[in-house]
Symmetry: C2
Subunit: 309 residues, 2 copies
């Protein structure tokens, strides 16, 4: 079975599991799933599993699908809080169905994760912890904006929890599904964690530099919410404060902050940091024997920092 | 160990598990837990467990705590959608911390359920299904309001999912924790299901008749949202339509609908229905040997329909 077949299996499971007889939940869930997305988290799980000799995709695909549903649920709720109206190149769930149904759709996707994971006793703990971290990271972010305290240190705390934790568990779970030994699980977890940090840094840069059409989601929102790597990076916090103030959504102010950030070295510095993290991640893969899956894990780390959307 | 001790154990577990280093999540979770609430769902679990000979409360308390956290999470999200500002006699989470943090606190509580249930493999499926049903019930309710389609039949579909399913799983899980046989698990599930329906009917009546101070939550909200047993009951749907229109939150219109409902037979009819359900529930307990816990299960069913808050 190829990685393409495995990913198709993940896709099928996600669509199957959201098939509720409640029309709005079914349609809103399919809407967000249909839009695609990069599927980088379940891909990571399946590649880690495969790289460690795993071949039973029917066994490994449900946890991979559950991981992507955690991300999808958080995206749906995120768009409520950020007033995001475009996601994955489509109107967001809240833009079409409104806030109430978007909140319930996110809850629905979160609960479907339980269902998928119910029979994976030990892995359940990994995913639960990562999901808690994700929610904590989102909360730290909202608090940093509110308290006007958006330094580089805080930024790292935020992205470690809201993004890197789930990437780490995606890799860890893949390795555990393949019954890898402790040292290998640890290395794969480190790989996932570094890739996750790099992924979020690039996401925040793209949010600042790409337009909505290319990005497929409302751009500038992360900036408006006071986050964005560059915000915290430039002047180590001072600009962060300015950005936090932009939450008032003064579009003139936004434009000037954006211009200021784009002019300085902040974005380059951030890109270099992301590349370093990707290289660190790739180094963790030394524990793996050569294989197609290993090469694809290397490609995945590079893709994460080289992408333009 | 007494039921009081068991319930204290449930309480301790809930407070422990929400102890995040993220201040807002910790404080908002404690705020809603501190306010108390009836704890009828975990009580049901512990009583069912005890009535079937279970004595290891350290084993049974975590799933009972998880069940209450599902309910608590749904309450926090519900108050966002309903604009509820009072809950359990205190300001609601969204009233104090705002919508963004309330949404994240609800997500946090939902994810803590995973953590508590991670090692209870089979029971996990029961709780996952009940939680999905709860979210589906909430969605059906919001859809019924939006589509102006609030008949008695729809009302029953809603309360079966949003309330009775979790009560059923609370009892089922208690029985399964005690390793009861299939027939007994089934009977306890039926008991929980009927108690849940009765509980919601009375809740909706109280929402209409009690004032906010006594009720401990913003009253009239369920009516404003177009739900409320009585609404669907009076004239089998016709009044339901009128109530759905009240979503516009015209307080004069609200008052007149409320007066109309209070005058008719609808509330009495609803109360009779709830009592019948409680009696049906109690009859299911015939499978149990006599015990203190069994008597308390009978009391619980009666309490549910006799309460005034």
């Amino acid at each position: 079975m190829t990685i393409q077949e495995a990913m198709q299996s993940v896709e099928n499971i996600m669509f199957e599991v959201v098939n509720s007889d409640v029309k709005t939940l079914r349609e809103a869930s399919r809407h967000i799933l249909d839009a695609g997305g990069k599927r980088v988290r379940p891909r990571l799980t399946m590649l880690a599993y495969s790289a460690l000799g795993g071949t039973d995709y029917t066994y490994a695909a449900p946890p991979a699908a559950a991981i992507e549903l955690v991300h999808t649920a958080s995206v749906v709720h995120d768009d409520i809080n950020d007033h995001g109206v475009v996601r994955r190149g489509r109107p967001s769930v809240n833009a079409i169905w409104g806030r109430t149904f978007a909140l319930l759709t996110g809850d629905f996707l979160f609960t479907k994760v339980y269902e998928l994971m119910a029979s994976y006793k030990d892995l359940n703990i990994d995913l639960a912890e990562a999901t808690v971290a994700l929610v904590e990271g989102e909360t730290l972010q909202a608090a940093a904006v509110k308290e006007n305290n958006f330094t580089r240190e805080v930024y790292y705390q935020i992205i470690a929890r809201k993004t890197a934790a789930l990437f780490k568990s995606a890799a860890t779970i893949g390795a555990k599904l393949a019954h890898a030994d402790e040292k290998v699980i640890e290395a794969l977890g480190q790989y996932g964690y570094s890739v996750g940090l790099a992924f979020q840094i690039i996401d925040d840069i793209l949010d600042l530099t790409a337009d909505t059409a290319k990005l497929g989601k409302t751009s500038g929102i992360d900036l408006a919410q006071g986050r964005g790597y560059v915000a915290a990076y430039a002047n180590n916090g001072h600009t962060g404060v300015a950005v936090a103030e932009a939450v008032v959504e003064d579009s003139d102010l936004m434009t000037s902050i954006k211009a200021k950030l784009l002019k300085g070295d902040a974005i380059n510095e951030a890109r270099i940091q992301a590349r370093t993290l990707a290289q660190t991640a790739i180094a963790c893969l030394d524990v793996l024997p050569e294989s197609q899956a290993k090469r694809e894990l290397i490609d995945l780390a590079n893709m994460v920092v080289d992408r333009d959307h």
